[in-house]
Subunit: 166 residues, 2 copies
Amino acid sequence: MKLTTKGRYAVTAMLDLSLHYGEGPITLADIAQRQGISLSYLEQLFSRLRKKSLVASVRGPGGGYSLGRGADEIFVGEVISAVDENIDTTRCSGAHNCQNNERCLTHDLWSDLSNQIYGYLNKISLQDLMDRQAVREVADRQDHPDTEQPGLDVSLVDGSGDMAGA
Amino acid sequence: MKLTTKGRYAVTAMLDLSLHYGEGPITLADIAQRQGISLSYLEQLFSRLRKKSLVASVRGPGGGYSLGRGADEIFVGEVISAVDENIDTTRCSGAHNCQNNERCLTHDLWSDLSNQIYGYLNKISLQDLMDRQAVREVADRQDHPDTEQPGLDVSLVDGSGDMAGA
DNA sequence: ACATTCCCAAGCAAAATAGTCAAGATTATC
DNA sequence: GATAATCTTGACTATTTTGCTTGGGAATGT
């Protein structure tokens, strides 16, 4: 299974896009600066996101990217799938030829796990993330990098850990 | 997050150990042959498993490894944690300095996800895996590599997909 | 003694990851 | 229509991780 920086960056960038919805197209340069991601690397990621229609692009000056659909219709699992080829944990990637062309001992375990993770991530939309207070506070900080905000040093971790809660 | 062959091998080997419980210590050479894993690689994995007391070892002829506790007391999550250093999905590994010493936009998302995966895998014991019919059938095949078993080509996938079900 | 097993550390090739670089296409604006 | 901003694409590179090998040891039953 793959859940690496690539997927993290993609979700982060998509969330940035959501948070600045309504300001017209957002340039990758803006996202790169706000989120601390290499511009060229973002380009590669957005190339894949575009192919899956998760973002729409406008070229030329004043151009940039915007969400391909509403933030409540784009789910984290989709974004990760778009950039990480597969979220599958099995070695055989779903086939059952893991060992000498036969099913390996733990094939089903990884298969089930993949389904669990995928199900979990596909319940969380970008809108859900935006609604989190912690996200809003970080976004505020990123939009106003000059002003110090010393009073916000509380624990921002939600800690609810509820599966269905997203 | 890391869920690679290393973790898969470890769980597979531990399951092999469980399945042959009662036959005295199991040598790594046996496991290597049955599961198609490099012996030297297994040695490395078992070194870590041993440090976490997940297995016990006996040296010398007739020696080998056995489970450190009952198969119903060893959980898949533990095994993976023992060999993959961390199952954490956050970049900062739990600290909140992901971006310029501050919390990144999606920190909590990955933190929550880690908890979900960990919670899921820590509910599944080696005994649970052994109770699965599909596992038994594969184990049978591995124990009797000579005899052909053509009648077992049914779909072995459990498909229940229930989170609490393990 | 000796073969069998666990134990350990170093090293290494291939793959994947994270990122760079260079060139081009499109389009708003002056 | 020149220019600059922006997306678009492909190739290339450095670094890290993975999966594995090598080569030694240490313990212990026979």
